[in-house]
């Protein structure tokens, strides 16, 4: 996977690209956990360059969402490809995360 981070007025943004499966989920988990542990409360994950996600990726997101909720924070997600959004939908995750169609919609 490829990662980069940036700060906007509203969010601390994690750009995560590539394939998120059992072979890469631990690096995604490390990134996300370190951002939460640093005290960020409004995290936006930009999946514009994410090509694939399996249940292992959702597992990391769910654990992170539970963790940040106990700190009164939230995780939002933007720019998901249709196939990935469908996986979120099947899992019921579209009701748990704030989902934005595009990065611009999220940060505006």
């Amino acid at each position: 996977m490829q990662f980069s981070e940036e700060r906007t007025e509203k969010f601390y943004v994690l750009n995560a690209g590539g394939r998120l499966d059992a072979s890469t989920s631990s690096s995604f988990e490390e990134k996300l956990t370190s951002i939460i542990d640093s005290g960020e409360k409004n995290i936006l994950i930009n999946f514009k360059n994410l090509d694939y996600i399996s249940s292992m990726g959702l597992r990391v997101l769910l654990q992170a969402a539970k963790k940040i909720k106990s700190n009164q924070g939230t995780i939002s997600i933007c720019d998901m490809k249709d196939n990935i959004l469908e996986v979120f939908d099947i899992a019921g995750f579209t009701q748990v995360f704030q989902i934005y169609k595009s990065y611009n919609e999220a940060v505006s």
Binding site: A22, Y52, S54, R59, K69, N83, G92, V96
Partner: protein
């Protein structure tokens, strides 16, 4: 197409590569590639994570065939007996606090595939899947 994966999680890359070739050769669109990859990924990840308690190398034999109205898949492994059809579906639509991380993978397979058959034969798990086109 037939290929063998070893019981190492890094083999998920090989799985993705092989399915990409299969779909290109058979003119199958990206959404079918995604569904085939997700279903096989979840089953293979389960086999690698829970199937073996020795530290030896094992083979997971996979065949993927294009048939007239769909794709047929067969997975064979010599790991511990595991029937994915016996797994309970996760609670979907529950509040965040009640959502659980287990069970989602098999739930995806059930959702994406039209047929799933399991048999235990001569010490092997054999899973047959069919995706209609």
């Amino acid at each position: 197409m037939e290929f063998i994966l070893k019981n190492k999680i890094s083999q998920l890359n090989k799985l993705a590569d092989m399915l990409k070739i299969f779909c290109a050769e058979n003119d199958l669109p990206d959404n079918i590639l995604f569904d085939l990859n997700l279903s096989l990924d979840e089953l293979v990840t389960n086999i690698i994570s829970y199937g073996f308690d020795d530290n030896k190398e094992h083979d997971i034999n996979i065949s993927v065939e294009k048939i007239e109205n769909g794709v047929e898949i067969k997975l064979e492994d010599d790991g511990a007996e595991f029937n994915p059809l016996n797994e309970n579906d996760p609670k979907i639509g529950a509040a965040l606090e009640e959502m659980e991380v287990g069970g989602l993978g098999i739930y995806f397979v059930k959702n994406k595939m039209d047929e799933i058959h399991y048999q235990r034969q001569l010490g092997k798990n054999i899973i047959k899947l069919k995706k209609k086109l």
